[in-house]
Amino acid sequence: MFISEHLIELLIRLCGISAIVFVFGIFFFVFREGSDFLFHKLNIVEFFTSPEWYPTSVSHKRYGALALIAGTFSVTALAMLIAVPFGLGAAIFISEFCGPKLKETLKIVIELLAAIPSVVWGFIGLTLMNELIIELFDAPIGLTVLNGGAILALMSVPVIVSIGEDALKAVPDSYREAAEALGATRWQMTYKVLLPAAKNGLLAAVLLGVARSIGETMAVLMATGHSVRIPHSLLEPVRTLTATIAAELGEAPVHSDHYQVLFLIGVLLFTITFVVNLTADLIVKGVGRQ
């Protein structure tokens, strides 16, 4: 009895630590593959400021990632602009306002939304949304920031809803009872008591949504048009960092410059997610101290 308890504890501890090992292992691997190029050949100024991405040019290879970075940011920003209000709104509604029957239905449907594979989303973007955007906006092509952003929003809403709802559910009922005892209406209770109490969890929900958007590959590869340019409007095609890796890594000869630059893009993606998480962590702590 005693031994098995220890064994299980050890096993669980190992599982916990494994997450850290995996993260560092992945970072190390990705960094190692690109490091040689990073230290010896990369023109960092060109990488961050030039939109010219010509990795397979015969005469003049150029590795400017600015357009790709702009692509990732524009699509993610639009997706969050749509998904955060909808996602948090839905989480609040499900957790606080709707009846038990509707609640079950909504949760099942939203979970179903999360189960749709990203290739299917991409296909919807490539066919249905493309024609719809051409019709509605008179755009020359429907594979645009708008298309990709809308699809990413639909993909990250389920994440935001389920994590956000968990966060609201975790607020003790005594808070609600206290608020009601003071004569607060439901809405007052929600935004004066529940939202502040659950803010860490809600922020985590939003961040997971952001991470989902930045990391998504297949759907944006298909829906954004995969076109190297800096977008000036929502109706222009773009190309994201992730889609570039997906489209080009298979072709790049192992350890060639192109291959290493793609791994550096991986490092860049890793850094972006890390910075997002870290800032959020600091914000939460900063707010907590006040």
Binding site: S59, A67, I134, A204, S227, V228, R229, V254, N277, A280
Partner: protein, 319 residues
Amino acid sequence: MAFQRKSSCRMLPAALFAVAILVSAACSREDEQDVAPVSGKVVVQNIGSDTMVNLAQQWAEQYSELAPTVSVEVSGGGSGTGIAALINGTADIANCSRQMEQEEIVRAKQNTGRDPYELIAGYDALAVYVHKDNPLNEADIDQLAEIYGEGGKIDKWTQLGIDNAGCKKDEIIRVSRQSNSGTYHYFREALLGEKRDFRLGSIDLHGSKDVVELVGRTPCAIGYSGMGYASDRVKLLKIGRKAGEPAYRPTLETAISGSYPIARPLYMYTLGRPAGEVREYLRWVFSDTGQAIVEESGFVPLAETKRKKALDRLEQEGK
């Protein structure tokens, strides 16, 4: 991180799952090498060009009826992918819609100690597609170079002297391919020569069929793909070499005679001289049946003399 503490219990199954995947991946890799003899089938891995993938699948299917002990496994991914697989030794035959570059031949030799062996299995006429309602009927190579090339000056349909009514913004949407595609490389070379690059800002799609599909749905678009992929939603342009010279529709005849300017060979590469089942398969590809499939798939079969030559070469390799 903010949510790590809360979600640690969720990560446990995820971590276990990841381990399971790693383990199973490691096992299956070992299995693969043994699969062939155990199941009694010889597996021929045929990887490469997306342009040729339908053709290669047709070949493989018909061949499996003829030789049930051989299984030809076809996958696409692009000519570059096929060559990479050949260099890594994971492909028996690489399909390629462009010629192997010197650098790639050297690397194959370094990696495997064997020289790539080149065969031409047919020809492909590269068609330039526009939406079916586009009034444009023909274009010449110089115009296409101005549309697609870096520093090119044509980006409006009116500059080509037509009024593309379906495209209100008048902007030419260039549809292109991902940069490991043999079609991409061939089209660039045919239009822009050795040195010049494509202009950025084209829609880079991931398959021959996708290009035709998108052009068929987009009145402003122009795109290039194998002529076998034509559908009733698109129009194939007649192509001329220069302004003022006659333009030709891509057909079997114009591609064989050479009057259609953008036709290219379809290559198949093996590592070293083909032997055993791979050689048998390739001999069948150059047979009447194999070449008939080339034509059925929308490509141009080899002329009789070239076919004989290829077969003779394969016969000699066997001795």
